[in-house]
Symmetry: C2
Subunit: 406 residues, 2 copies
């Protein structure tokens, strides 16, 4: 697997993209993106589990259910989420499909749609039409970074990556862009990601592979515990590499590359979390089941007290243990053990059998003052474990969300 | 029912209390409290549901299980939680019982114990002994406010109240003190409360009444979603009024007074929430069941995005609806309706059928800029409903918890 420098959704063969400014965001920032494949694609999507879903989630679910084998691209806007907009919002979303299809020279139901931004505001279709037309006129293989930029909201930097894998039948490339820095929680967050590949993969298989990759990446991050109405991860596979994933070894290699792309984008979202100053990898091991490990990990990772302790550089392990205790998982307080470190291979133990060891407080503080913190909590109950990634809760998070209308 | 000015745990007949400084808190603040009844009491307690519990929770559960009919008082300390302290912490807690019993001239298992403060630190028993001795020497009926002050941690003010009820058999008084401003969430939080009454109530009945009152009060508040290791609400009934609750009308009147005391103390905790600048009453109605209403209400009330919108005075209702959608309750987005107001009788509608009405944004902003906000979300699914109370998430919350070691 080889990482492609400045890679993105246009790194795989046969994909082009464009970005434009149409006035949905303030200050003339780019807010419309178009990603097109020169060939029909198989496609798959994973969507928010929020009961209140945005129009594009409704439309994309239907589009993929109707025919996931002839997709041509994705049109996206930032600034307005097109959520809580009723029948009028649904119409606007379908109009976005039509406008993008007009550009691509395909049918509307070959296009997928993404929106992110303020909830409860109707899209200005005149503006969107101008934006899509502009993006369409400037389609290129070199616009990946701008495309990633056009889907940003409170993100401070574009998130894009690509890897190539040399397979027996030839080279396959997977690229991706993502956005999201608030309303980020495992059941898909206010996050959007578009993945592309030039591998030939049947739609059904692609769906399974995407779900598996998302489960190991985007479903393992949390910034603020809020799950958005719009969260979507899409993948398009156009087969332009001529490489078919027709045996298990190929599939495994592809899955590995896909996982890697998704983990990189998911971690990039956490690193750019609203107000985040620290990146925290939280490993829970010694659980009875993976679900229990995940429940404990997520409870700790969403605890305001734990996250403010990270922000303050305070190795306040008591809050970590207290949060673990309220995860609705039966625990044995006397079997808990806790390690911290600046990286996963260099940690030291604070707690054994549920009570603190006599450790060097200044060393613990030095680790918590750093920008990368690894936490390992052993529940001492079994063999299952998992890792989630999160960030700290800072003054800046409050400023961003007290002042910004999402 | 009559509210007693400056009322507290010593307002009911036959209760005295004392407070002292023993050096567990910084800056010489009071940190030991003793509450004694001149007569044996029936008692009941409601404890944290956290899987990791502090030593006093273990001890009090056992004490009440062994014999809830001959209690004499409560000894409490602040500054150190005596949680995650293992067998040594359990011994220290039992020693607190003994020291307090020595003062009261009763057996150790007639005393209940409370601790709150930093997790994972052992109690200094020498200091505690000095504190208990001092508190014992200064027992009085006029120390209620100081007693409330001695159990504070990050609280900014003492919380105490009392009411009297004229019943056919005579006057009955109920008093209470409480503390808590962080790690506050419905399954009992880093909150302690002690209630006293001079009514004669059998222990089993008292237990049921306490559970019912707690369910309507302390279990309906949330500050930061974190449930602590120490949360405890205790009640002692010494019968000194000579009034026995021997018929249903008396029981109903007493329950009403008890509910009122608990709601007042619970709301006082929210109003004094860490960094809180606003008090929010959140009513969820039109739910299929009360459990579903509560689930939706709690999810909204713990959403960092909702709480920062309150802090910013931003009527960002989209975040409220989005939070409702991730409460693991099946919703119909098209049946949602939302009202806001400065008080419960003066609200106006923002959302109908899941989409925004054309409302006066400046009026909505004026309400959200205020210090009391009422939110009413109608799910449009049934007849059940509930109300929870919470506060906003401010810069001050982050400062307190990034810097303070709980």
């Amino acid at each position: 697997m080889k990482r492609i420098s400045s890679g993105s959704v246009t790194s795989p063969k046969g994909f082009r993209s464009g970005a434009a400014t149409c006035g949905l965001k303030e200050k003339g920032a780019m807010d419309v993106a178009l990603i097109l494949s020169d060939y029909d694609c198989s496609g798959a999507g994973v969507f928010t589990r929020n009961e209140v879903v945005a129009a594009p989630v409704i439309v994309d679910r239907q589009t993929l259910a109707d025919d996931p084998t002839k997709l041509r691209g994705v049109v996206a806007n930032a600034g307005i989420a097109n959520a809580c907009t009723g029948p009028k919002g649904l119409e606007a979303c379908k109009r976005m499909q039509e406008l993008a299809a007009g550009c691509a020279g395909c049918a509307p139901d070959q296009m997928l749609v993404l929106s992110t931004g303020v909830i409860g505001v109707q899209l200005d279709l005149d503006k969107i039409a101008v934006g899509i037309e502009h993006a369409c006129r400037h389609l290129s293989e070199n616009n990946g970074k701008d495309t990633a930029r056009a889907i940003m909201t409170t993100d401070t930097r574009p998130k894009h990556t690509a890897v190539s894998v040399d397979l027996p039948g030839g080279k396959v490339t997977i690229g991706g862009i993502a956005k999201g820095s608030g309303m980020i929680h495992p059941n898909m967050a206010t996050m959007l990601a578009v993945l592309t590949t030039d591998a030939a993969v049947a739609a059904e298989e692609l769906d399974g592979m995407l779900r598996s990759a998302v489960d190991r990446s985007f479903h393992r991050i949390t910034i603020d515990g809020d799950t958005s109405t719009n969260d979507t991860v899409l993948i398009l596979a156009n087969g332009a590499s001529g490489v078919e994933l027709n045996d298990d070894a190929l599939k495994t290699a592809f899955q590995e590359a896909l996982d890697s792309i998704c983990i990189e984008l998911a971690q990039a979202i956490v690193r750019d979390g609203e107000g985040a100053s620290k990146f925290i990898a939280l490993q829970v091991c010694g659980a009875r089941t993976q679900d229990e490990a995940l429940s404990v990990a997520r409870t700790i990772a969403t605890s305001p007290l734990v996250k403010t302790a990270f922000a303050g550089g305070d190795p306040n392990w008591g809050r970590i243990v207290a949060a673990a205790g309220r995860a609705n998982v039966s625990l044995n307080a006397e079997s808990l053990a806790l390690w911290i470190g600046s990286n996963i291979n260099d940690d030291f133990q604070l707690v054994e059998d549920g009570i603190p060891l006599e450790y060097d407080e200044s060393l613990a503080e030095a680790i918590f003052k750093g920008s990368e913190i690894n936490i390992r909590l052993d529940l001492g109950l079994g063999q299952a474990g998992t890792t989630v990634w999160t960030c700290d809760l800072t003054h800046e998070y409050v400023s961003i969300n007290a002042d910004y209308r999402t």
